[in-house]
């Protein structure tokens, strides 16, 4: 396998990472919205959010991708004079798909925070929103960081599905290079190592975040200074 192939693969990895990063941003924001709606006492927020989670979790990511890129969605957009670009379609599909899973993760995190925390915040005169922002969510996110790390890693690897809409991401380009050079084993192994390197970096980032957000937890409290 030549240096040329490696360069092509690295470029493809760059695209995979850009898709993953943008999708993760979408999923983290949308997921938060979904979780807050699902925990809302108002049925007109809670019920649609619940339906959203159930539907999105049940639809294969590949189908979601096709719907957005080729389906009704893209037709509506093209009637509005907007051609949905492959990148945007991929980010939207992955973002929506992962928002359902990440939303559930957030929900579990919020519910894991002791009720006394909200009461203490409200007793100080905070509104529900202020209590969420300053007291509940920081603890919820800390509690679910390991789960979020898992989601992020799974997302990076799921970006390979963008090949179905011809995005030249790592797996797709790897297959093309393998087909071009007939060095399937070498190319695929290189692809695997690139994914592995990425997930190792993500694990490090996750550990760092856990340490930062974990300040004040029992674990860190018992660590000698």
């Amino acid at each position: 396998m030549g240096a040329g192939t490696l360069l092509v693969l690295l470029e493809a990895l760059g695209l995979s990472l850009r898709i993953a990063a943008c999708s993760l941003a979408v999923a983290l924001l949308l997921g938060l919205l979904v979780a807050l709606c699902r925990l809302s006492p108002r049925p007109w927020l809670r019920l649609p959010a619940t339906a959203y989670v159930e539907v999105v979790r049940g639809v294969p990511l590949l189908v979601l991708l096709f719907w957005i890129y080729f389906g009704v969605f893209s037709e509506v957009l093209s009637d509005l004079g907007i051609a949905i670009h492959g990148f945007a379609a991929a980010v939207l599909a992955f973002g929506i798909c992962y928002s359902a899973f990440i939303g559930e993760t957030y929900r579990a995190g919020i519910q894991s925070v002791d009720r006394g925390q909200e009461e203490a915040a409200r007793a100080l005169g905070m509104t529900h929103r202020q209590a969420l922002r300053w007291v509940i969510l920081p603890q919820a996110v800390r509690n679910v960081l390991p789960a979020l790390g898992n989601e992020a890693i799974a997302l990076v690897k799921d970006t390979s599905l963008a090949s179905v809409i011809a995005m030249p991401e790592l797996m797709h380009v790897g297959r093309q290079e393998a087909g071009r050079t007939f060095r399937t084993m070498e190319v695929f192994t290189a692809v695997a190592l690139l994914y592995l390197a990425t997930t190792l970096v993500l694990s490090r980032v996750q550990k760092r975040l856990e340490r930062r957000f974990g300040a004040g937890t029992l674990d860190s409290a018992h660590r000698p200074r």
């Binding site: 409200r122 007793a123 100080l124």
Partner: protein, 242 residues
């Protein structure tokens, strides 16, 4: 007799079939130290939680400073900000240091600047004798220290009244006194206080009026020495004998 700061009228609260409060009325004058005692389940904690509306009474009124606070359109958050509460289990925010715990509400609720809020927090921690532990995480503090931080956190809002809900019940015996000492200082400063407690010596020493409750009702009340030494009601006598 000055106008009462807190006036409760006919408070009732049920949880399903359980009636926690069955029509309780009470007036607490400015600067008064009202001590509320009674067996567990008598409704004393529910009463306290109704005062700052962590529990919403099914019926009856809560007036604070002459303003009805449990009616429609009442400024509940503002009322809570002016009425401090300390809980049995502290409920410090574990992701924030002691100083940040105290500074948070002044910053986000009162809109103080970062530095001003920290300055106020520092002086509150000093007041409860914990200036040197300002940067510590709650879980590295002893129970007594955590409860003192919780008191400082409530005081940082400059409340007009303070509610104490069995604040020493979760503490090891040797840690109780440091918390009571802080409360004694606070009482001496003229703060209006409602204190639910099992510490009878403290009640006698600090309280101006002691209320004995049972089964969601007030059984008797009066100066602590009088009620504790010469209870009129058989149920009070039975409770004090344990």
């Amino acid at each position: 007799m000055p106008e009462p700061w807190i006036r409760l009228t006919g408070l009732a609260r049920s949880y399903g079939a359980v009636e926690a409060l069955r029509g309780v009325s009470m007036e607490v004058a400015p600067g008064e130290k009202r001590v509320i005692v009674g067996p567990s389940g008598c409704g004393k904690s529910t009463l306290l939680r109704c005062v700052n509306l962590l529990e919403v009474p099914d019926s009856g009124t809560v007036e604070v400073g002459g303003v009805l606070v449990n009616g429609p359109g009442a400024a509940t958050d503002l009322h809570r900000a002016r009425t401090g509460m300390v809980f049995q289990r502290f409920h410090l925010f574990p992701h924030l240091t002691a100083l940040e715990n105290v500074a948070l509400a002044p910053r986000v609720v009162l809109g103080l600047g970062e530095e001003e809020a920290r300055e106020r927090a520092r002086s509150m921690l000093e007041r409860v004798g914990l200036a040197d532990r300002a940067g510590e995480w709650p879980l590295r503090l002893s129970g007594g220290q955590q409860q003192r931080v919780a008191i400082a956190r409530a005081l940082a809002m400059e409340p007009r009244a303070m509610l104490f809900d069995e604040v020493t019940s979760a503490l090891d015996p040797e840690l109780v006194q440091e918390v009571l000492a802080v409360m004694r200082d606070l009482a001496a400063s003229g703060m209006t206080m409602m204190i639910v407690t099992h510490e009878m010596r403290f009640a006698r020493e600090v309280g101006t009026i002691l209320t004995f409750m049972d089964a969601g009702r007030i059984v008797e009340e009066g100066p602590p020495g009088e009620v504790l030494d010469h209870p009129r009601e058989p149920r009070t006598r039975a409770f004090l004998r344990y």
